[in-house]
């Protein structure tokens, strides 16, 4: 700047004024962006806030007009009350163990399959892979009915088997795809060095590739967890006994319960919803990094 001043005095003044206004513009811009972000955040958070607030309201505060933002006295007992009204804990346990089995099955079997696609050469590999990708594009409706009939003939309706067993057979195209991409990004030299040292495929898979694949495994685990926890349509068609319900179907059932003595149940419903959402949010905060990574991996390298 100093040199400029000497060479072109008039110009300098003009420059410094415009640089000031540019700075002001930039600051203004940043302030606007922050305001926008904060505004959007409020928009996204408000429904959650309203749910929690409703869940703590007393019966007579629910239908007042204009609505009150916060309960006068938070009715914490609404939460245990849910447990009395419906077998919420049982449903939670059902959801948990189905999710666990699903996640385990997906991670284990998808990684085997992805290993095959990524590191082995054989005829029809590409064709099978393309068919695999194709299943991601199919609407579930077309496989839903025959799968139901199949499980019907096996006598597995009203058991939890249809909800987690299929994931042990390959884990689904998305998981296979993601892990395959990841393994392909690991240098083949690792495999080859191990082969020369006399390792067999199992050792390579288990001791070399899998440890490196932890990030993508974590991603798959998180995505599967959330997907299974929130799954509604499949438990809906397979489960008809109340004790077998998962949280998703249970919540819907709770919603359709006739009111006991005409009492509005919104507070309890909201409390139940909160209890269903919280585990997912907690998991997300803990595993955020992997989750984001995984979504990104799937979208870009695709």
């Amino acid at each position: 700047m100093a040199t400029q001043t000497q060479v072109m005095p008039g110009r300098t003044t003009a420059l410094s004024t415009s640089s000031q206004s540019i700075k002001r513009q930039k600051v203004l811009q940043i302030i606007l962006l922050y305001l926008l972000s904060i505004g959007l955040s409020l928009l996204f958070i408000f429904p959650f806030f309203w749910t929690v607030s409703t869940s703590l309201k007393a019966l007579d505060e629910l239908f007042t007009f204009p609505p009150t933002w916060l309960p006068a006295v938070p009715q914490w007992q609404n939460y245990p009350a849910v447990l009395n009204r419906v077998p919420f804990l049982l449903w939670t346990w059902n959801s948990i163990y189905i999710v666990a089995l699903n996640t385990l099955g997906t991670v284990l079997s998808a990684s085997l399959v992805a290993y095959s696609f990524a590191r082995f050469r054989y005829r029809w590999r590409e064709a099978i892979f393309i068919i695999t990708l194709g299943t991601m594009m199919l609407p579930d409706q077309v496989t839903m009915i025959p799968q139901y009939v199949l499980f019907h003939k096996l006598g597995w309706i009203n058991t939890h088997l249809p909800l987690w067993l299929p994931s042990w057979f390959g884990g689904g195209a998305f998981a296979i795809f993601l892990i395959r991409q990841f393994i392909m990004s690991l240098p083949r030299e690792l495999d080859e060095a191990a082969l020369i040292d006399g390792a067999n495929y199992w050792r390579i898979f288990w001791q070399i590739l899998m440890p490196l694949c932890k990030p993508v495994m974590a991603t798959i685990a998180v995505i599967t967890f959330i997907g299974t926890w929130n799954d509604f349509q499949r438990p809906l068609i397979y489960l008809q006994l109340r004790e077998l319900f998962t949280l998703a179907v249970g919540l819907n059932y709770f919603n359709t319960l006739p009111e006991m003595g005409g009492e509005p149940m919104q507070a309890l419903l909201m409390a139940a919803s909160v209890m269903m959402i919280i585990p997912v949010i907690v998991l997300f905060f803990v595993a955020q990094r992997y989750f984001v990574q995984g979504i990104v991996l799937s979208g870009i390298k695709g």
Binding site: S37, P67, R121, P139, Q141, P146, Y148, L251, N252, M270
Partner: protein, 325 residues
């Protein structure tokens, strides 16, 4: 001579002829055969799964679609009657398709636009970007069931906060989920709220971050303003991600079920009676599995056609950096 050839063949191990299985697998050497066979073995769980849970069912549903079948009574072959009934005799067939399309055509572009806008916002390198990203993503984590219950309550025509807030600025809020005309817009609103900060946004964000800085700098030197930079640098560079999100977005939107089922159960007055709901009703509540299968197949064909059209058209506007034409 023979002895030398043999010994050299043995010492090189890999030059041995592959067995029958290996040859079938396309291997040219024993080593390759081993690899190929192992490749197949590892693939087995998926092959089994593919056959039992995907290919088998697809073929089975094609078979069901020409039957009159409820799981209890023996099935009856009725040829193309299910399809004929769908196209001409089912009063809800065309309307439910129409509603599903209407919903998708609005939700997908708005969603893409919203996700992109949010991604751009997050890409501005504000200090608390990660925090905002998390907040924006939270709605996406909500299970659809809870989402429906939450929003039914939020959109309550008389005591819900949405209409109350509208009342403050002098607008008489509509009936939302209780009104025939506003039910689908209400569902669109809910979908956008929960989807706009979700996977699509993250993918866009990654795509944006993958645009090389030099391109922007080159554009600036050429005197491009922000809009021009966006149109000529950003958009083309993220067009693959746009296509990806578009295809997945449309498929997802056309399958809309849980939200409609829980929030409005297809009403009021069929307003939210979407195609997926129609299939469910016919198959699992009226027990007409044959007809439901026919409906599902029609759906598959439409979806395939849609995707094919999208992919073909995409060659015009998607720019793959580093690809030779």
């Amino acid at each position: 001579m023979a002895a030398i050839t043999e010994s050299s063949a043995i010492s090189y191990g890999g030059a041995k002829e592959p067995g029958l299985l290996g040859r079938l697998a396309g291997a040219k050497t024993a080593l390759q055969a081993n690899e190929a066979i192992w490749g197949y073995i590892l693939l087995t769980p998926w092959i089994v799964g593919l056959l039992i849970f995907w290919i088998g069912p697809i073929l089975a549903s094609a078979y069901f679609s020409v039957l009159e079948y409820d799981v209890l009574s023996p099935s009856k072959f009725i040829g193309l009657e299910n399809y004929i009934r769908a196209f001409t005799g089912d009063k809800q067939f065309w309307p439910s398709f129409g509603r599903t399309f209407y919903y998708s055509i609005v939700v997908v572009p708005l969603g893409l636009f919203g996700s992109l806008a949010l991604a751009i916002l997050l890409n501005q390198k504000l200090k608390a970007t990660n925090f905002f990203r998390t907040i924006f993503f939270l709605p996406h984590l909500t299970p659809a069931v809870a989402l429906a219950l939450l929003w039914v309550w939020l959109l309550h025509p008389t005591v819900g906060p949405v209409n109350t807030a509208l009342g403050w600025i002098g607008i008489d809020g509509p009936g939302w989920l209780t009104s025939k005309d506003w039910a689908i817009p209400a569902l669109i609103l809910i979908s956008l709220w929960s989807g706009v900060g979700g996977n699509g946004m993250l993918i866009f964000l990654a795509g944006l971050q993958g645009v090389p800085q030099e391109l922007y700098e080159a554009a600036e030197i050429d005197g491009a303003g922000s809009w021009s930079k966006f149109r000529n640098v950003t958009l083309p560079m993220i067009s693959p991600t746009l296509l990806f999100n578009l295809i997945l977005g449309i498929i997802g939107a056309l399958k809309v079920f849980t939200l409609a089922f829980v929030a409005t159960n297809g009403g009021p007055s069929f307003a939210t009676w979407f195609y997926a709901l129609h299939i469910y009703r016919q198959s699992f509540e009226y027990f007409r599995m044959g007809y439901g299968s026919a409906l599902a197949w029609i759906f598959v064909i439409v979806l395939m056609a849609f995707t094919y059209i999208q992919l073909t058209l995409s060659r015009r506007w998607v720019y793959y950096a580093g690809e030779k034409d």
